[in-house]
Amino acid sequence: MLRFFHQLASPKHFYRISGKWIPWLGAACLAFMLAGLYQGLLVAPTDYQQGDSYRIMFVHVPAAWMSLFIYMVMAIAGGIGLVWRIKLAEIMAISSAHVGASFTFLALITGSIWGKPMWGSWWVWDARLTSELILLFLYLGVIALYNAVEDRRTAARATSILALVGVVNIPIIHYSVEWWNTLHQGPTVTKFDAPSIDFRMLIPLLLMAIAFKLFYAVVVLLRARVEVLQRERNTSWVKALVAEHE
């Protein structure tokens, strides 16, 4: 079975197939996002406590989910690339790093903006935000390592190991930050839970979550295609593509 998977994952094959998939994924992503925005900004009722500021949640929460989800995907893809030495898995791992870091950054910014009206300051050492900040450093570590190593293949394998080490540490870091948070501030006001989840608030949250997942798929495929072109630049099919491109 692995032999088949190895054949399928030939760069040339991957490049062609992903080229076909991207437009569909993009359209679906747009559709879900528009539906999510419509539901979130127009249909969902105003919250009796937070008024309309809670609508930031429809961007903040999916982004936070994505930051963790993408790190997991990166670690798993990296692991597969390392163990079975499948080039494509390595490429998918490293292509996820930048978009994962972007979602983490987005979660941090929107989290702090959402917190401002509630607590009056741009940053609060809330457990979730603090874990998100550390996750951002983990991502930046992966990206920095990838750029620091000259040889592309060694760089990809080094970052895969780092991602695996990181993914083992994420739950430990999260637990220790939760522990640290309850130690200093007590589990009171800074709970970040969404307001009493009214069903009509849940829909936009899920729609946006699906939209972000589709968006990740589009971006990771786009980046992977560039990485494939870069790595296969001496092959005939890439040379043909280059000629075509002019």
Binding site: R85, R153, E232, R233, N234
Partner: protein
């Protein structure tokens, strides 16, 4: 004294090595048997060192396999390391340690050959330097100390990357005689060298990577 198993074979099949997405060499196959020499030639940057690093297992080939007595060297891992001795561009000796301390440590990383440290140093014409800290040795003496690890360990397969660098003509002939004895004992050698290597064995397979 250290007779090796005559039936040892190192078999490489379709080795491919890629650097910066350019293949240094591809579909390279050869077999090395007891008493034989593999001489790797080619211009600088043609991948000579990369090939040797692949042979000894430091670097994995991008394609292809290497078998020692039928077993893949990556599955054998430490088993293959036990039969291999590697001397690269760098000497691999600690400057703060004395010659004896360096060899004692080198011996712990291989199968001891029964030759004691003093005898090995004498064979390398480093007699009397036992307690001299390596930092005070000349480049040629350091190189000979690095090669002395081949005497204190018993490894049928020697993989030497430019062993003759910084050696004078006398040093080169000293090393060549050591290699000849190794081959007569049934050992094998994979070597790169810019100097012309005059060895007794006529069983030399030449690979030119920039042909």
């Amino acid at each position: 004294m250290t007779h090796y198993d005559q039936t040892d074979t190192l078999e490489a099949r379709d080795l491919t090595c890629i650097r910066d997405d350019r293949s240094l060499f591809s579909e390279l196959s050869f077999t090395l048997k007891s008493g034989q020499v593999l001489l790797v030639e080619g211009r600088n940057g043609s991948g000579k060192t990369s090939l040797l690093r692949i042979l000894c297992g430091i670097r994995q080939p991008d394609e292809g396999h290497i078998h020692w007595n039928g077993g893949d060297i990556y599955r054998l891992a430490t088993g293959f390391n036990a039969v291999t001795a590697w001397v690269g561009h760098k000497d691999g000796i600690k400057l703060e340690l004395t010659a004896r301390e360096n060899l004692v440590f080198a011996r712990s990383l291989g199968t001891p050959s029964g030759l004691d440290i003093a005898e090995a140093l004498d064979a390398m014409e480093l007699g009397g330097f036992d307690d001299v800290s390596a930092i005070n040795l000349s480049a040629g003496q350091k190189r000979r100390l690095a090669l002395a690890r081949l005497l204190v360990t018993r490894s049928p397969l020697w993989i030497l990357d430019e062993p003759f660098t910084s050696l004078d003509t006398h040093g080169i002939s000293l090393i060549e005689s050591m290699i000849n004895k190794h081959l007569v004992d049934g050992g094998m050698l994979a070597v790169t060298s810019h100097h012309t290597v005059t060895l007794d064995s006529n069983d030399i397979t030449r690979i030119n990577l920039s042909a």
